[in-house]
Amino acid sequence: MKILVCISKTPDTTAKIAFTDNNTKFDTNGVQWIINPYDEWYSLVRAIELKEADASTVIHLITVGIADAEPVIRKALALGGDEAIRVNTENSDAYYIAGQIAEIAKHGQYDLIFTGKETIDYNGSSIGGMIAEFLNIPYVALATKFELNASKAIITREIEGGEEICEVELPVVVSCQKGVAEQRIPNMRGIMAARTKPLKVTEPVAFESLTSIISFELPHAKAGVKLIPADQPEELARLLHEEAKAF
């Protein structure tokens, strides 16, 4: 079993969101970078669990980004995984990134490719579906549970207002979310081991982007909360009904 886990570097969940250069660039000043939580907590940890269940499993991590992505990929290696690949290029749109990953995957003979259900910065939910189409293999999005049974994956996925269980022959691309695994904290042994695990740097293939971000904006600030005394919940109900027309 050979697994490829896609890792993205994102701002910490508590990072202040601000923009510079006339609102065209994310302000990275003072921002802590983390492994995208969906990539870390769910897809990477599930891959590690599969390796714990079957020691012959090989896990490769991949990230697309310039050298500043290395601390994050090292941290991912500290959790687990055998080696990492960094495609040395500035991030562009999802099509470009998925194209780079698919190029590596094409030569890697992976049985399973995991992504997070989205990154918490661009919220595209796109990389997994795009990789699958580039490789012409099935894609199961929004998994909440993932099991293996020989050459078959048994996946529970979210649908509107419920869940669906499906079976699919490997290889498959799966996007993972809450439920697939539980967050782990890297231990000292893992951190030490990660230092000597191979981190291969490859150059990108020529590939285009289909979209580009022109500018960013922040939502309008709220006008301020209207406080209602605790002994007058009927007043709150009235305001919601008549003023906010919320029901």
């Binding site: 595209g124 419920g162 289909l210 500018s215 709220k222 209207k226 109900a237 029901f247």
Partner: protein
């Protein structure tokens, strides 16, 4: 060259998120002086022609039992055939579970730039740009689509449903449908409940409620408002409530008309998942709870006293007391 809208169904019924996508796609078609046409895959129970009242003039229907369950790879090929036949340049999806599964792969197949999580109509005055949510709702990005063909995945609850007079012409579409590799073996519906992402009103509980045994009053309030239930991350992590109710940055992102947060302090990660809600109500006994800063209405008080009275007041206003 019509604007195509993927109309998503569940158990034979059209989803609300798809009605929003139809209205949105119809508006784009109007902007571009063309027609809006729907795509329905799978067998349906609803009267599809009546979807004309949301703005589609035709519906391309592939009435195939093989498409009753989603296999993204199979769907993509069928939609690509319809896009080719109609020579459509713009395809609209809802950015819901099915849209997220299908749109990215279709983007690759058609080499069409994808904007997922769109919240506005495209600006075509200079190129083709759309606003989408980024940083889990904490900001927006204006994205330019630089390809001839374009795919838009519209965020649920981001566009208002409007009706008009109209009946859609049904066009049976004969598509080559591959044998899928994904076999659905079981479907579990949270029956009778309103899907969280489609709900107009959401009632949400946090750690302040002290334990799962206290959810009765939250359920009563939700029932009185015909609302969906949600919870904060600590509540889901403690297994007080199921994970599919967890809203926030690492849970489900929602944008209902009304979001009522009870006993939730409002950590930044929670706010990220709910701050696109139109009206936010916070009930919390801690006046310093950060959630009050993001709220429109608030009560500083003990939820156990406030909520039952609040529910009674709502019932009275709705005449169901």
């Amino acid at each position: 060259m019509p604007v195509l809208i993927f109309i998503d169904t569940a158990e034979g019924h059209v989803k609300k998120a798809s009605l929003e996508a139809i209205c949105y796609g119809a508006k784009i078609a109007e902007q571009l002086n063309t027609a809006a046409e729907g795509i329905v895959l799978s067998e349906v129970k609803d009267d599809l022609a009546s979807l004309g009242k949301y703005g589609v003039t035709k519906i391309h229907h592939v009435n195939s039992v093989a498409l009753n369950h989603l296999d993204a790879q199979v769907y993509i090929k069928v939609i690509a055939q319809i896009a080719e036949t109609t020579r459509a340049k713009i395809i609209v999806f809802s950015n819901n579970a099915d849209g997220k599964a299908i749109a990215p792969g279709l983007s690759v197949r058609l080499k069409a730039g994808l904007v997922s999580g769109a919240v506005t109509l495209p600006d075509t005055s200079k190129g083709f740009t759309l606003k989408k949510t980024v940083f889990s709702g904490k900001a927006f990005a204006n994205v330019s689509v630089n390809t001839d063909k374009k795919i838009i995945a519209l965020n649920p609850n981001a566009y208002k449903i409007e009706t008009r007079d109209g009946v859609a012409e049904m066009i049976p579409f004969q598509a080559a449908v591959d044998d899928g590799k994904v076999k659905v073996t079981k479907v579990t519906k949270a029956s009778g409940e309103i899907p969280l992402t489609e709900a107009e009103i959401v009632v949400s509980g946090g750690r302040g409620l002290k334990g799962p045994e206290n959810w009765g009053m939250i359920e009563d309030l939700a029932k009185s408002l015909h609302a969906a239930l949600a919870c904060s991350r600590p509540v889901a992590d403690a297994h007080w409530r199921p994970h599919n109710e967890h809203v926030g940055q690492t849970g489900i992102a929602i944008a209902p008309n009304l979001y009522i947060a009870i006993g939730i302090s409002g950590a930044i990660q929670h706010l990220a998942g709910v701050n696109r809600s139109k009206t936010i109500v916070v009930i919390n006994k801690d006046p310093e709870a950060p959630f009050f800063k993001a709220a429109d209405y608030g009560i500083v008080g003990d939820a156990f006293e406030v909520v039952p009275k609040f529910t009674e007041a709502i019932k009275k206003l709705k005449g169901i007391a």
